[in-house]
Structure formats: C-alpha cells, structure tokens
C-alpha cells in the first residue's frame, strides 16, 4: 500500500462573510481522494477563493467541517498538518522581486525547517522540476512572466507537499512556459500529489483534472467527465403531435425544440436505452440521431446560463 495517502473531505461546508447578505458557500460537500487533480471552476465571486481559504486553514467554516485523513487516519492538528503537507501557489507572484531566483529559493527553503543538506537537495530538486537553471542568478523582477510563474510554483514545491493548491498557474504566460507548467502538473500527478487547480482556462482543466467542480452562487456542481458530457440529439422526420411531444418529454425528461428535435444530456447508459425504447414505442420517424461529446465549456455555459435564468 502506498504511504502518505492524504484524502480531503469537505462536509456540508457553509461560509458567510461578516456583513454579507448571503452565504458565500452553501452546504458544499466534496471528496478529494489522494493523488487526484481536482479542477475548480466558476465565475468571479462564485466562492472559489473562499473554498480555497477554508481548505488552506485561513478561514474556519461557518458550519460543516473539513477532514484531512492520512493513510485513513484522521488528522487532529490540521493547522500543523497544513503547514507540513499543503502548499499554496497564489495567482500573484508571491516572492521577493529584489532578490535573485536563487536567493528566493534559498530564503523560502530556509523556512521549511530543513537541515543544510536537505535544503540544498530540495532547492536542486525544484530547480530541475521547474526548469529554472537558466535564470538562477537573475533578479526575480527581471525574468519573464513564464519564469515568474515557474518560480512561484517552485517555491511551493520546496517543502515537497502532498497537497498543492494552484490558483490560475498559467495565467498570462507564453505557450512554452504554459506547456512546461502543465507538464510539471502532469509530473506531480504521477508522484500522486493531490492537486486542486483553479483556472478560467477550461480546456486546461478538462485536459488535466480528474474531477471537476463548478462553483456558482456558493454551490458546487460536479462535472462527470465520462458521463455528463454526452449529448443526444434526435431529429424527427415529422413534426410531433402535442400528445406525443408531451409523452416523450415526460418519459425522457428532455425538451423538444421546434416540435421535431429532441436534445438530451444523457448521464447513464440505462437512460440512453430507455429513450431508444420510448422512441420505438412512439412510432415516430427518425431523420437523424447523434450522440456527441459536450465540451466543458458548453457544460459550463449551460450551467451558468440556467443559473442566471433561475436567479433572475
């Protein structure tokens, strides 16, 4: 069995800021198993930062709880645990611009509680992982945006964390640096690190995260990559009668547009077969049938759109 298996469970966590009229997080529950990369997406103000603050121990939830378990054992002293095992990579460049890249690494490494040899080894490891060899002697303020992002990440990796929170790690970087950062994330996944990754680049989230949650209005919606992005689209040869239309809508839970097209998000295979059976029973002529992949962007826009409509 692999050691250092850290699972995180968020149980019914709600949070309300002082003087705020509504909850920033509303009874959120999610499980983050060890070694997965979890993507958090959502518009600004959706509650991502609040959730990350709670996961980092910066905020205490108004209700509910966060549980960290290491090798199936509950962690009692979470503050100490977070300091030892969790690293943050803020969206801002959280290091000292007047120092060189190497001086920054040495300074932050000195705060990790390493003895001298361990410190040097940790610095060499992150230099290699983040490919910082060429800029070590340069002032941090004068290196490119891509290198700044890598240094930001490298500092977080100095303490060899088991859990890593990445807040938009590729924002504003050139394609070469983006590729390097994403490759590093893949490499961290292979090391069974747990990664929580927020980004507005939905294609990156879709490509690199094992599990994705969308936050909207303080609520979390899980996006199942395998099941939930299948869209069934059936076009009938003739306009359906009102009676058949109602029957199909009632049975499938899907809507028919222009009285001859059925569009349906299909989550389970069983539902797909039920719809097929129903269409056969209805004896409607089928002009075309398409089962396609719905992208995360489509799903995101659909969800955000429906919520906007619901909210208004």
């Amino acid at each position: 069995m692999q050691e250092n298996m850290i699972d995180i469970e968020v149980k019914n966590v709600s949070y309300q800021y002082k003087e705020a009229e509504r909850l920033s997080l509303e009874s959120i529950s999610l499980i983050i198993p060890s070694g997965i990369c979890l993507g958090l997406i959502g518009p600004n103000g959706a509650g991502k930062s609040t959730l990350l603050s709670i996961l980092s121990g910066l905020l205490q939830p108004s209700s509910g709880a966060i549980t960290f378990t290491k090798d199936k054992q509950d962690i009692v002293n979470q503050r100490h645990f977070i300091q030892e095992n969790v690293a943050l990579v803020p969206q801002e460049y959280a290091f000292y611009f007047p120092l060189t890249v190497m001086q920054n690494l040495e300074y932050f490494a000195s705060l990790c509680g390493y003895i001298s040899a361990q410190q040097q080894s940790a610095i060499q490891r992150v230099i290699q992982e983040c490919q910082l060899e060429n800029v070590l002697t340069q002032k941090s303020k004068s290196i490119s945006g891509g290198y700044k992002r890598r240094l930001n990440l490298a500092i977080a990796l100095l303490k060899d964390p088991q859990v890593l929170y990445l807040d938009e790690p590729t924002v504003g970087v050139d394609p070469v640096s983006r590729k390097a950062i994403l490759a590093l994330i893949e490499s961290l996944k292979k090391q069974h690190k747990t990664i929580i990754f927020t980004s507005h680049m939905l294609s990156e989230i879709e490509a690199h995260c094992d599990d994705i949650y969308m936050l909207k209005g303080g609520q979390a919606f899980q996006f199942d990559k395998i099941q939930s992005n299948r869209l069934l689209k059936v076009t009938f040869t003739h306009t359906l009668t009102k009676a058949i239309e109602r029957k199909v809508e009632r049975l499938t839970g899907c809507q028919i547009s222009q009285r001859n097209t059925l569009e349906c998000q299909v989550q389970k295979d069983e539902t797909l077969w039920q719809i097929m059976q129903l269409l056969q029973q209805s004896e409607v002529g089928i002009h075309s049938m398409q089962l396609g992949q719905n992208s995360l962007t489509d799903h995101y826009l659909t969800l955000m759109g429906s919520h906007d409509t619901a909210e208004h």
């Binding site: 930062s49 990350l52 959280a94």
Partner: protein, 372 residues
C-alpha cells in the same frame, strides 16, 4: 533587499543627510549674516538727533532702502523726536512698520536694535551735556566712544563648553528623524508581502508567524543600527566640515553609539505598529510619514522648543523622538548620566508598549488573511 531598493536608501540615508546638511547650514548663519538681507527705510529726511539715531543703526550693520516697498522695516520719526529724545517721559518718538516678509526673529532683532540705538543716542546727548564727551571730536570718534561705553559684552563670561555649536541642535534632531523613517521600508515590505500573497504562502509554511514577524523586525533593527552609525559619522564628522563648524571628537562619538541601540529599538518597534496596521502603500506613506513629521514638529525639530508656547513644550516631553534626540545631545556634550538613564528608560518602556501593540495588530492582520 532594503539595500537593493533605491526608495529605501533614499528614505533611510539620502533624505536624513540632506536634512542634516540643509538645516545645519541654515542655522549656521550669524546675526551679521542675517542683517545682510535686512534693510530699513526712513520716511522723512532725518534731522539733528534723528540723523544721529540713524547713524547708530548704520553702525549696527543695517542697510537703508530707497523705498518702503523693498524695506524690511519702515521708520517714521515723530515731529517731537528732536525735542523730546533726551527727556525722561518721552513717548512714541518712533513708529516702526514691518513688511509682511519680516520673520518673527528678524522683527525681534530689529526691535532690540532700535531700543539699543535709542539708549546710545540718549547716552551720547547726556555725555555731551556733561562734557564727558568732547564735542569737538569728529562724530565718528564720538560714536566709537559711546559704543565702547555701552558695550557690556565683557561683563558677561560664557563658561567654556556651554556655548554649543549649531550641530548640537540640528544633527541629533534630523538624525533621529531619519532613524524613525524606518517605518516606510518596514510598512512597505509588509504591504508588499500581503498584496503579493507571500504572507498567505508563509502562513502555510512550517513557521510561527510571530517568529517570522520578530525575525523581520530584528533584520530591520540591524539595518537601523547601520543607518545610525552612518548618519552619526556623516552628521557629526562630515557635515560640520561643510558648514565650517568644528566636528565632534571620536571619543564623543563613542559615547553616542551605545545610545543607538535604544534609539533604533524604539524606532523599529514604533514602525512595527504601522507596518501591522496599514493595508496599502498610500496608507504607509501618509500614516507612517505623516505621524513622523508631526512627531518631529512636536519634538521641536522644526521650530526650537524654547520659542514654542509652554503647552506645546509640555507635549514634547511625551515624544519618543524628543527623548531620542535628548539622549544624543546629552551624550555628545554632557556627562550627566542620570538624565540618560531616564531617557533610556522612557525609550525602553515605549518600545515594549509599541511591540505589544504591534504584535496584537499583526496577529489580527494574519488572522484576517484571505486568498485573493
């Protein structure tokens, strides 16, 4: 980091040295230098005793302007001047009007000189009447005799060493002012760390945030001590050479250096309060810089305490900048250890109280940190 930041170097070194130079140079002017720029206009053509009065003023070093517009003061003799100047009950023989540009010290000096000239004219006339002054002598020689007779400077002896050079006032004040400006680098560093997310990152590092805060303050304390040494050397050895004053000796400097331990400690602890309090660069500059300037004014750095009203002088007794400047002055020239102990005690108490407040505020700041 501080030494690679030009703004910090400017605040900690260039600004105080500039102030020390400017203020020492500004205060090094003698009274005769001051009178060079002062001119007097006499409204009517002086006659008889009025003429003598004007000549005594000229002897004091005054220039006479062609019009009242360009004059510092305008004199208007009463029409009874010549008849009454020698009588004992004469009043309002001269009306003086100061221009808007005349400063209070210049007005005071002119006023004193006008009174001195009256005294000399009266003495002159008296001695002529009693024939103690030879009326046949040329007027210039008569006046010389009168000036000699009325010269009282030899009656007063100034004890050696008690007449302090101008640097004794300006250098301690502006040195302390510069030391307390450590508030800006400390506050700006903490604001930077908060805004860049470094403080949040550090909160998740395996370190105690109090330890981190006090380590940072210790680093700034070392910088402050270095700043103190540099400013003491520049202020007390180099600035006097520039303003043509005698530099103080190295043995006097050795008396001052230990005082830096307490002065820098109080400055860093005071700065710690603001660093934990401010949330933006603007607040750091306005609050940190503003409070320092107000404290300096209240401590008598800008206007000497002895020309302030008693109530303001009392306020200075509660200012850490005043205690610090007094500590330097006392150790520059005096050996009264008791006063130093009192100032040191006050500075230490102030430092500990500041440190307590700063710790409380920093704890609150760290507690309220949020992921942006």
């Amino acid at each position: 980091m501080v030494f690679s930041d030009l703004h910090s170097i400017a605040v900690l070194f260039i600004m105080p040295v500039t102030f020390m130079l400017l203020m020492t140079f500004a205060m090094s002017g003698r009274q005769s230098d001051m009178l060079d720029s002062v001119s007097i206009y006499v409204e009517q053509q002086p006659q008889q005793h009025e003429k003598l009065y004007v000549q005594y003023l000229t002897k004091l070093g005054y220039h006479f302007a062609d019009s009242s517009d360009s004059a510092t003061a305008t004199l208007s003799f009463s029409h009874t001047f010549n008849d009454n100047v020698f009588t004992s009950r004469a009043k309002n023989l001269l009306v003086v009007t100061f221009s808007a540009n005349a400063s209070i010290p210049v007005q005071t000096i002119i006023q004193q000189h006008l009174e001195l000239s009256f005294a000399r004219v009266k003495l002159h006339l008296y001695m002529l009447e009693t024939e103690e002054l030879d009326a046949d002598l040329p007027l210039e020689q008569q006046m010389q005799q009168i000036v000699k007779q009325s010269d009282t400077s030899e009656l007063i002896t100034t004890e050696t060493g008690s007449l302090l050079p101008v640097i004794s006032y300006s250098i301690p004040s502006w040195l302390v002012f510069g030391i307390f400006f450590i508030v800006l680098p400390i506050s700006i560093t903490l604001v930077n760390e908060k805004q860049s997310g470094t403080l949040i990152r550090l909160k998740t590092f395996p370190i105690n945030m109090y330890t981190y805060f006090f380590t940072k303050l210790t680093a700034f304390y070392c910088i402050s001590l270095a700043q103190f040494l540099v400013l003491v050397f520049i202020g007390l050895r180099l600035v006097p050479l520039v303003v043509d004053s005698a530099p103080i000796t190295y043995s006097q400097i050795l008396h001052i250096i230990p005082m830096g331990l307490f002065i820098c400690f109080s400055a860093v602890c005071f700065a710690a309060i603001f660093s934990a309090l401010v949330k933006s660069f603007e607040q750091a500059i306005v609050l940190g810089g503003g409070i320092n300037i107000i404290l300096a004014a209240l401590s008598g750095f800008m206007v000497p305490l002895d020309v302030m009203p008693p109530s303001l002088r009392e306020v200075a007794q509660f200012s850490p900048m005043y205690w610090a400047a007094e500590l330097i002055k006392q150790n520059m020239f005096y050996t009264t250890a008791n006063n130093s102990v009192q100032q040191i005690m006050l500075l230490c108490l102030f430092s500990l109280a500041s440190l307590g407040v700063a710790s409380f505020l920093f704890n609150r700041k760290v507690r309220d940190l949020l992921w942006n």
